[in-house]
């Protein structure tokens, strides 16, 4: 009996040991040979990804991480350069008709898929139609259907392929017809949803498309050699890429690392070449030559709900809008490279004639605590003397929570108003906003393309939706609609500037907070690593190594 007892324990022990050994052997295969490749003189770039990779299917994917990867292994008709201007890529040139509604793209010679086949105009037609078709489309289909003629009807299943304004004249010529003159359309063609797809290949892999690195056909500067959603990706230079002589990096590794402190430790141990810093660590490295900051076209703002008390009152909205100092928030609290916001549209966003929108329009809101108090008093009189309990809705990530705490403390200090914070997970926040279950909320919008319209079209309010604060102002709506059809770019921008002013100053629908930025460390021998402020952000094609 006694012997039996110990024997049973022993057997159990060995069994479990074996089981777990199996579990490990699989993942140990992908062991990196980083030091070896260094020795062989290859130029290797080690980067990190802040979360798992959800989906590398360019048609359905929606998240920044996947876009960052796709942008380096695929290429559209145009590619953004270091200054965010679209430069010919798969296309060699384009002819734009006088009414600015027809684009004729001429494809470059010698562009190839990673299996050696030619990239043709048909690949673009196939891909774009696939991105629109109700059976295959993802949530980014709007980025095509909003602009191309007949695309929306096709996406709704109300039109045939022939009625869509995407045609391949021959293998080398692609003709695209637009609904409205769209000055930023070339930039759009650099976006992931506009990348081409090879029809034969897609039919061959079927359901397995983009599930591993072998089930994608590449036409960008790099190809994937390893892909594990939870671990990361490895890339290699694409030998079929048309511009290969201008690509310096040989290999890239991008690993999923969710903790900022881990990233920093890996950077210091030399296993990463570039990381983003958490605000706690910024001060330590601020003077280092490896330190830098970048901002994105992502604006954070308070969205007031005009359908809920007390924000149905203009004066109360105005009081809240003026009662905090975005500069304090950006420099003292966030301290991560973010810039204080006094308007909706981020600085650097394209305006007209190479002049940024922000420079033309100036700042719209100027915080003023005295004025805020006056507005509050006026508002209180109008609503009968007392504020109802007020809740500020926010998502549960650190930055959103810190922002909420900041707003709360400022409202208390500058207005004497008590606000409680309601934190919800990301989708919970969106759900509350959609269900009209909030008073005011900390929200954000990242630009899809380099034009004011990406922001201002959101509040058109036809119909008014809770998500956009139930805002509806015919004057604003007409301005935006007119700007959409306007062919004169100067007039167009002026209308949009006026629209932004109405939205913020006259109607106080939003309270600007900050433009998202990040602080980073980057090894000093790495140059020309480009981070676009919107869309598919990361561009490794231009990276060079300083010996």
């Amino acid at each position: 009996m006694k012997r039996n007892f110990w024997k049973k324990w022993g057997i159990l022990f060995v069994l479990v040991l074996l089981l777990s050994a199996c579990g490990f052997s699989k993942s140990s295969e992908s062991s990196s040979s980083q030091s070896e490749s260094d020795r062989s003189g290859k130029k290797v770039l080690n980067l990190s990804l802040e979360n798992d990779i959800p989906d590398l299917n360019q048609v359905t994917t929606t998240d920044g991480i996947s876009f960052d990867i796709l942008n380096n292994v695929m290429e559209g008709l145009y590619r953004l350069d270091a200054d965010n201007n679209p430069q010919p890529a798969m296309a060699e040139s384009v002819d734009i008709s006088d009414d600015k509604l027809t684009y004729t793209f001429h494809l470059r010679d010698g562009i190839k898929w990673s299996n050696g086949e030619e990239v043709t105009a048909h690949d673009f037609v196939f891909s774009w139609l696939r991105a629109l078709h109700p059976d295959t489309a993802g949530s980014y289909s709007f980025i095509i259907s909003d602009y191309i003629k007949g695309a929306e009807a096709y996406a709704n299943g109300e039109a045939t392929e022939e009625e869509v304004g995407i045609k391949a004249l021959n293998d080398k010529t692609l003709i695209v017809e637009l609904n409205d003159p769209t000055p930023f359309f070339l930039g759009l063609t650099a976006f992931a949803t506009y990348f081409p797809l090879n029809e034969d290949f897609i039919n061959e892999v079927g359901d397995q498309f983009a599930l591993d690195h072998e089930s994608i056909l590449y036409n960008g500067p790099f190809v994937l050699t390893e892909y594990d959603q939870a671990v990361g990706v490895k890339m290699e230079k694409n030998e079929h890429y048309w511009d290969i002589e201008n690509v310096e990096v040989d290999e890239i590794s991008m690993r999923v690392i969710k903790e900022k402190s881990t990233e920093l430790n890996l950077y210091e141990s030399g296993e990463l070449d570039r990381i983003t810093l958490s605000s706690n660590d910024v001060d330590e490295f601020r003077d280092s030559e490896e330190y830098g900051t970048v901002t994105e076209f992502t604006s954070w703002y308070l969205q007031f709900n005009l359908g809920k008390e007390p924000f149905d009152n203009f004066n109360i909205r105005k009081a809240f809008q003026l009662a905090y100092d975005p500069k304090l928030l950006a420099t003292n609290v966030l301290n991560n490279g973010s810039e204080p916001a006094y308007s909706l549209l981020p600085p650097g966003m394209h305006g007209v004639d190479g002049q940024p929108f922000r420079d033309l329009a100036g700042e719209v809101i100027e915080p003023d605590f005295e004025k805020a108090k006056e507005y509050l008093e006026k508002g209180l009189e109008e609503i009968g003397g007392e504020l109802p309990p007020i809740e500020l809705l926010t998502a549960d990530d650190t930055v959103a929570k810190d922002t909420a705490t900041f707003v709360q403390s400022q409202l208390k200090e500058n207005l004497g108003v008590d606000v409680s914070i309601v934190t919800k997970p990301y989708s919970g926040r969106l759900d509350s906003m959609r269900e009209d279950d909030y008073q005011f909320v900390i929200s954000k919008w990242g630009a899809d393309y380099n034009d004011a319209m990406t922001y201002l079209a959101l509040w058109v309010g036809e119909p008014a939706i809770p998500f956009r604060g139930n805002y509806h102002n015919p004057e604003y709506m007409n301005l935006v609609y007119k700007a959409q059809e306007e062919k004169d770019e100067h007039k167009r921008i002026e209308m949009l500037m006026e629209a932004e002013r109405i939205l913020l100053e006259e109607d106080a629908v939003l309270g600007p907070l900050y433009y998202e930025g990040s602080a980073y460390l980057q090894k000093s021998y790495i140059k020309n690593l480009v981070l676009h402020p919107y869309g598919a952000r990361l561009d490794l094609k231009y990276v060079t190594f300083d010996e």
Partner: protein, 310 residues
């Protein structure tokens, strides 16, 4: 014995069914859908429903439930919404390895060290040994494991450079995470072991054994440990499960592609099929752990015999 096992298997299936049902309906009350994002916010309600319809998410919840159950009966856990088009079962299988290894090492290490510490403490009751062991045990449960993990990573990984800072590439990469996870287990086991040993050492049969003239260690090993193991076995089940979920923090600090992080992500992303798959996986695992505990009870303590009736 055969009947006993049969009854237990039926019981397990019923339990799993109830868990699956509860989780399914609870999960569906979570606000939002797997496709929530700012970019979809401006869709009209119709367009949204149309989009959801493509995934069968527009149907009444009970219809979705029966469909899911029918698939489950066929062994199909469905496709993930977040990791688009990937079967949930293969996602779980891919991620289970690292978590299982770290968890298993932590349990084995924690169990052995904890039991030894507990024995020393009980055997040298009220001596320096006792206090020393218990202080270790108390510190073990007082320091959050993410703090410990961060310390280990910074000092052992980065400053001393003995072990890898992060990643999951070789056996060495599993050492620091295991240590970070083990400390809590050691502490819990050591305390329980000490308590039980103290009690057992006062039992009549121990005195009888000592009176027979058996040496201290013989008494300890043959009689005392075996009786003291009973409560250890009871808390082992929960410890194992909490290790698997608790390893989330460790996994994200050491950048390990495990199952803990998957679980929290799937809840936050409303990834229904993955939540269900993982819940069922954890539940089955835990129920099995309880079953093994019950059987071990019978083996370790001759006074308790499991019968079909319970």
């Amino acid at each position: 014995m055969k009947k006993f096992i049969l009854v237990r298997v039926v019981n397990i299936l019923i339990t799993l069914l109830i868990i699956a049902t509860l989780t399914f309906f609870l999960m569906k009350t979570l606000p939002g859908s797997p496709f929530d994002e700012e970019k979809l916010a401006d869709l009209t309600e119709e367009a949204r429903m149309e989009f959801l319809a493509r995934y069968g998410l527009d149907e009444p919840v009970h219809v979705q439930y029966f469909k899911y159950m029918a698939n489950l009966a066929k062994g199909d856990l469905g496709l993930s919404y977040y990791y688009k088009e990937q079967p949930v079962s293969s996602i779980i299988l891919e991620r289970i390895g690292p978590s299982a290894l770290i968890g298993f090492q932590a349990v084995v290490l924690g169990l052995s060290i904890g039991i030894i510490l507990g024995m020393i403490a009980a055997f040298r009751h009220n001596t320096v040994w006792d206090y020393f062991t218990m202080i270790i045990a108390v510190l073990g449960v007082s320091i959050p494991n993410f703090v410990l993990a961060a310390f280990l990573q910074f000092y052992v990984g980065l400053k001393m450079g003995i072990l890898p800072v992060a990643y999951w590439e070789s056996y060495d990469h599993s050492i620091l995470p295991t240590i970070a996870l083990t400390v809590g287990v050691i502490a819990q086991i050591a305390r329980f072991m000490r308590n039980e040993m103290l009690e057992v050492l006062q039992q009549d049969y121990i005195m009888t054994a000592q009176a027979k003239g058996l040496g201290d260690w013989v008494v300890m090993i043959r009689h005392a440990i075996r009786n003291a193991l009973i409560p250890i076995v009871t808390i082992l089940g929960p410890i194992v499960v909490s290790l698997m979920t608790g390893s989330l923090v460790i996994e994200s600090i050491f950048s390990i592609p495990g199952i803990g992080s998957l679980f929290v992500d799937s809840i936050k992303m409303n990834d229904y099929t993955t939540i269900m798959g993982l819940t069922l996986f954890y539940s089955a695992f835990f129920i099995l752990a309880i079953l093994i505990v019950d059987i071990l009870y019978g083996i370790i303590d001759p006074r308790i015999r499991v019968h079909g009736k319970g």
